[in-house]
Symmetry: C2
Amino acid sequence: MISETTLDPEEWDEVGFAFHQAVDQCMNNMKSVRNRPVWQPVAKESVLRQNVPVPTGERSLYELNSFFNESILPFSNGNTHPRFFGWVHGSGNIAGVMGEMLAAFMNSNAGGRDHAAVYIERQVLNWCKNIFNFPFESSGIITTGTSMGTLIALKVARNTHAGGDIQKLGLAGMPSRLVGYTSSEAHCSAAKAFELLGLGHDALRRIPVDSEYRMDIEALKHRISEDRMNGLCPIAVIASAGTVNTGAIDDLKRIADICHNQDIWMHVDGAFGGLAILAPEFHGRLTAISLADSIAFDFHKWMHVPYDAGCVLIKNEAEHRKAFSSRGVYLAGLDCGLAGGEPWFCEYGPELSRGFRALKVWFTMQAYGMDRFAELITQNCNQARYLGELVKSNSGLQLLAEVTLNIVCFRYYDRGVPEIELDQLNIRIVTELQLSGIAAPSTTTIKGHTAIRVSITNHRTMTEDLDLLVEEICRLGNQMRGK
Amino acid sequence: MISETTLDPEEWDEVGFAFHQAVDQCMNNMKSVRNRPVWQPVAKESVLRQNVPVPTGERSLYELNSFFNESILPFSNGNTHPRFFGWVHGSGNIAGVMGEMLAAFMNSNAGGRDHAAVYIERQVLNWCKNIFNFPFESSGIITTGTSMGTLIALKVARNTHAGGDIQKLGLAGMPSRLVGYTSSEAHCSAAKAFELLGLGHDALRRIPVDSEYRMDIEALKHRISEDRMNGLCPIAVIASAGTVNTGAIDDLKRIADICHNQDIWMHVDGAFGGLAILAPEFHGRLTAISLADSIAFDFHKWMHVPYDAGCVLIKNEAEHRKAFSSRGVYLAGLDCGLAGGEPWFCEYGPELSRGFRALKVWFTMQAYGMDRFAELITQNCNQARYLGELVKSNSGLQLLAEVTLNIVCFRYYDRGVPEIELDQLNIRIVTELQLSGIAAPSTTTIKGHTAIRVSITNHRTMTEDLDLLVEEICRLGNQMRGK
């Protein structure tokens, strides 16, 4: 007859011990993170740099776990370290890890059907609606991140404003060309979405910014009316609630007014900055998010949920569902039983199979409470302001943009050094900081200058870490200049 | 000064104990899964059915874990159970859970930069190239699943064949309308991708199938030449390596020949069936995957990696990268340091932030070896054949499609019962099976008839489970008919 095998272990207890050991090692690693370099390159001789054959035969969890501890874990990208200041990365949290582990054990597919994972996801989405003051009837979906959330929102915007049955006929069958608007400081995900949606990145008009890096509202109005005069069809404005370069927050209220008056979809890219609405200091500048048609933001940034987890909320549930609802006969819903649970989440996004990503978010929100995140966001913004003051008061440094949120852009500076050399020097300083393992800021370009960019989205950063950062930048810069 | 707080626990040991407890509970749950119902609805009085306020204040991991055990874990979608036969779900595996847990502790962002997560992902991709005999120079990316993989591949196909600078100008700026082809039995993800990409689902021609549910090759040729005569531009054929309804495998070799001769992109949807290439019995029918331009498939189906994890491989690395490579100044790569590690994975897909999804795949492949998966795939196909024979030999059942892979479509049947009643009856049988917790097949439509669809993608299923399934279907059917 048929001989039968399974992936289940024969010795469950042994597997249990291997898990306990793995947990303890990771916990020790996390506890002692401050004593280690922020980052170190994967070792030259590491097997990770080789291409090994496709695995055959069995390997024990002990063996794999020990390889992980020696060859993988020490070579992370550093964002769990208190002096990781690069890009915008969250630092992770232990309750989120537990949620992720439990979700992996449970192995649910949250694409549809009637089971706990979809209820937890709906609960998390309802909490998010509450945070951004979106109506309860809004729809939403947990995504891998804001890029996917923005893509989903802009597909709905495109379809809603296309002026024809675009699902069926495509863009080539629409009466006019579709265009959208965002600021010159906006994140590249909006342009990527325009390309994917078939609109092309030319169709995304880059509106200039004011001195505070916010979208120039008059320029926006002008461009919209110019486009309309040329027979184009404006579909969406993508406003930034926290730009990635400097943390600038567009004037959301005025953009909402324009969109409302002109029947244009307003989408907010709140990737990291959106959640600053929790902090009293920023609440006022972000309340107008509730006037938008959609918002996308990340849980893995300022809520420190383990990667990856983001979200999109959309006010028009019907248009949202219509834009993504294509189910085959093999996916027919039934009134009751496992095939119940309508509406299915696969009708709100491009994915049919979806992990139980909601659980790590639920664990994170439940374990700490949202008041705690308000406190931490405030703390990071205070730390950014502190760093800004340090920079201003240091004659060897130059602040390149006012600190508005949690991002500080500055450079090692000496007026005697030509601009091109300053750019090179600041890149070298950042690289050296990373290679030495002392700190990990990243770089960007501000007003044509290479900037050292410090983004504090980190619940482990302490003020003394910023003191050390400034000290080291000055030391390295002086050393490189032979001072 | 600034008062500073962190999400890290004060008592690390306590957290460690909470993790150990959580692991042990999940392990016991997995070990005893056979003794429980496949599925049960979330309890009527469960707090999961209520909308509770946004969390404030702290909750201990013990408290959360205990809620999880009582109110979430028992209400899964059932796919870890040996008698879960619905849709196509993997059953999970313990090594994959460990990989997912370790990835969550590490909290890497695999969107780019130079760190272990990107090396592990490259290794997994190289193994996949080897499995499908794709050249080493091919590119690829780990995705949430095949829907996303197919979307990525079709974007590259669209851009490569559009006949103009579509990234910049969009579809409206292209010289001719773009069309693609797939069979009438293909998965809905191809149509969803066409809609998202702005092509519209009319542009995806549904080619009829032959008696074995494979794409009719002559009809494909005819439709392509008809479209060309009408000035349309064929960009892609999406072939199915295992259709979701019946497990049919398109004639990949002949489709590859047509695509090669006509300069059309060939994409293979190998969501679950692609990996049957590992099984000697199916190897021959799937070797022509190596002639395709791209293949997308899932790790969370027949490799039982915890949800979600899939993959896309693309032969033309340059076109792949070009289609997704939009990085802002804040994402500039550097020669060395943390910002090294080119090319970055965010240049091969729509996401910038990406979890370390590769680790659970790496753990799964390493722990069991690919020979083990070959064995399990063969086992499931043998079990499907066994069930097919059981159905054929039972006068109260009717087989609706020949068993080719791991899917068996049949129905409770009595020639005295009108068709419309048979449809209702079979839906009731499936719902009752699910509600009773005995087994969870799903339903589909085959030749206009409602079918009970049993997909065996399950490393826990034993032959006796199929005996029980047939017995229960007959019992329920007879009971419902008052026999």
